[in-house]
Symmetry: C2
Subunit: 226 residues, 2 copies
């Protein structure tokens, strides 16, 4: 296989016209402390890539079953490989976050008007993937101004994100976990205008809680029984 891109936690590989994501054991963090929102590689944990792929496979299959299009084709967990349809990100990538509770950066920004942990109604927001500028929040008007999304694409992605977030939330709930917030990425299928869910859906994308206790990203699969 040829490596066509090497990222912080994944490589993109190619073989016989097929495209694969290889899940690595590296973990993101800030100043050497593991933090899934972190923008640098903080170290690596044996088996982290496999763990992430296992959960991603589980959720992508559920999301596909729900009739939502994703870039997922199949997963070979033993080899840390996920076969995907080729898709192009919007610009250098957007993070789309649906929040069910006012925690994290939402609470830090809007604490004048919300209590920490207050319920939110599928509130969805988009940030730019830009390590140097700490993934800035951007409005619909901003995304249109920068030619990253059309107004229609924005509306579609926000709606799709909230829908997928609720699917994941309901599944976690069945396994006794509460989802506070979750982020996804989207892309356009190559040679098409179809917008699909891309990248991964793992513990690292979400803040999940068990009886009020934060569940570490690598422990999510344990609760899912996978």
């Amino acid at each position: 296989m040829n490596t066509i891109y090497s990222g912080k936690t994944k490589n993109v590989l190619e073989e016989n016209g097929k495209c694969f994501l290889e899940f690595k054991d590296s973990m993101t963090g800030t100043d050497g402390v593991f933090d899934t929102g972190g923008n640098e590689v903080a170290g690596s944990i044996d088996g982290a890539g496999k763990e992430c792929l296992k959960v991603t496979k589980f959720f992508f299959e559920k999301i596909n079953e729900a009739g939502i299009n994703t870039h997922y084709i199949s997963a070979d967990v033993d080899n840390n490989l996920m076969e995907v349809k080729r898709a192009k990100t919007f610009g250098k990538g957007l993070e789309v976050i649906t929040r069910f509770k006012a925690v994290g950066s939402f609470y830090r920004r809007y604490g004048l008007y919300v209590e920490e942990g207050q319920d939110l109604n599928d509130y969805t927001e988009i940030t730019l993937k830009d390590d140097k500028r700490e993934d800035p929040l951007i409005t619909k008007e901003g995304l249109v101004e920068l030619n990253l999304l059309t107004a229609e694409e924005y509306d579609e992605i926000v709606k799709l994100n909230a829908k997928i977030a609720n699917i994941v939330k309901d599944i976690l709930k069945e396994h006794g976990l509460d989802l506070y917030d979750i982020k996804f990425e989207f892309g356009k299928l190559e040679g098409s205008d179809e917008i699909v869910l891309i990248d991964e859906v793992s513990g690292g994308n979400m803040r999940a809680y068990k009886d009020g206790e934060y569940v570490e990203p690598l422990n999510v699969s344990k609760y899912l029984g996978i």
Copy 2:
């Protein structure tokens, strides 16, 4: 007159049922350096209040003439007083910014996709007035989530802001100045659902340039010939 509220750069006074803003000589800044975007009082300059009121009177009268509703009734520049209709802010206040050039915080946030100084198409965004949290950017969805605006009010304010910004831009242009960005505040008239422009419209609200050179807020009136 009774002082019913004392702010950083203005007091709100009341007499015989009438409401007045008193423009003070205090100037905002950050760490003692004057900066109209600053969130603390950095000092005071003799005549700053009068200067600000003079420009505000000039623009409010032009904006009223253009058929846009504001809280402005009249101004007594000699006594630093502006009579206004009573209006209620949205929450503790919103700042609505229309940008014609990618400078300042817009460029700091979105420099991955824009050149500094690049033209923008009446791009309008809203921040919360919250000194402690450095006036965070907020989306339409966020304002609705926090019950600060309805979706319809958001659309109306954004449209109104861009319209007023263009009126000011055109006037400045006639006097040889280029407007890069400008911020306004809105409120609801007491006992009504009508949304009006409130507060001030002065050099401190805008970034104006003369032949590529930044014009200090207190010098804007000189170019207007007032």
